[in-house]
């Protein structure tokens, strides 16, 4: 399995997957936006501002999922010293930062008409800001530290510490009283989102996932090229 993970083997597949995603992305984006903006009904109490949710919720999920992957790969990298995992982490981090910031900004835009405030220092919102800080530190750690061995160590350390923040984000709305509402979707429970709003939410999740995957694959390809170039120089 580790042999399959060698960058040179993966490189050939990347181009094909990127082309495939490019060919279907815009079609799904148009379907998703049509459902989210026009075809889905307004909410019984929030009215049309519910449509912000179709970007906010998937962005938050992807932001959290990206950091979970980074933490997992950092742990695996620490144990097995697979350089490829470090390259993957470097490619995931900017996407995670983008989507986490998007979740915070859209949440703020939603908060003004519904809560009556742009921002509140409650547990959920504060822990999301801390997640953004972890992303920024993670990215800075490999941008600023020139020695690669040290950069790997520092970034893995940040990722593993940051994973505890993920648990706090997840349960913040249950442990403490917050202005942010509790999760609408829970595993094993019936959802409190009506099916006519569930469909656009899921399509938008797919759209944002595909976009994230596209950026990831392109970044990853660049990282592999960079590494090869470095090795050629060394020869």
């Amino acid at each position: 399995m580790i042999k399959f993970l060698l960058p040179s083997n993966i490189y050939f597949f990347l181009g094909k997957i990127i082309k495939f995603i490019n060919s279907i992305f815009f079609l799904i984006l148009i379907i998703g936006l049509a459902f989210a903006l026009v075809l889905s009904p307004p909410d019984y109490i929030q009215g049309d501002s519910v449509r912000i949710m179709y970007v906010h919720v998937p962005s938050a999920w992807i932001g959290l999922a990206s950091f979970s992957l980074i933490s997992l790969f950092s742990i695996l990298n620490f144990v097995f010293k697979t350089k490829n995992l470090y390259l993957i982490n470097k490619s995931i981090a900017p996407i995670g930062l983008l989507f986490t910031s998007l979740a915070v900004v859209t949440g703020s835009l939603w908060g003004q008409p519904t809560w009556g405030t742009w921002w509140a220092w409650d547990a959920r919102l504060t822990s999301m800001i801390i997640l953004i800080f972890f992303y920024v530190l993670f990215i800075l750690s490999y941008k600023l530290i020139k020695k690669e061995d040290l950069a790997v160590k520092v970034s893995s350390f940040l990722a593993i510490i940051g994973s505890i923040n993920l648990i706090i984000i997840k349960y913040s709305v249950e442990w403490w009283s917050t202005l942010h509402q509790p999760a609408s979707l829970k595993l094993g429970n019936s959802s409190s989102i009506h099916s006519s709003m569930m469909l656009p939410l899921m399509i938008m999740l797919l759209v944002l996932l595909l976009y994230g995957a596209l950026i990831f694959l392109m970044k990853y390809k660049t990282e592999i090229i960079k590494m090869k170039k470095k090795n050629v120089k060394r020869l």
Binding site: P41, P42, D43, Y44, I45, Q46, V50, M53, I75, F78, V79, F80, P113, T114, W115, G116, T117, A120, W121, D122, A123, I160, I161, I164, I168, W176, S177, T178, L179, Q181, P182, A183, S184, S192, I193, H194, S196, M197
Partner: protein
Amino acid sequence: MLTKKVKSRISFLVISIVLLITSVFFILNSLKENVLYFLTPTEAKFKEDLEIGKNIRIGGMVKKGSIYADSKEIKFTITDFKNEILVSFSGTVPNLFAEEKGVVAEGKLKDKNFFVADRILAKHDENYMPPGEKNFLDNNAK
């Protein structure tokens, strides 16, 4: 299969993660009071070191039939179905402010049962549905 080096790294990792989680747990436990965004009426009632006249937030449900508004102020009752606090507020309330909906009031306690708010925030619940569906559910409930 695993080499000695890998095994030692795994054990180092497991020990440090366990230590990390315990320390974060203790930190959060000691911060508990500060992390709460608002107090419920019951928490406000039984909190002993609560200073009258200090800025706090009270949150709960707006009691059914308790909203009373005139040209100067709006009065309503925040309840957590055990205890309640009467709130007086002059200013504009958010669109989502309504009876039997969540609310957070920022302001000062005058005494244990009377609260003067500077700002009202509406708390949204986790339910999302189209307007027709809401009528349908209400009819079923009757």
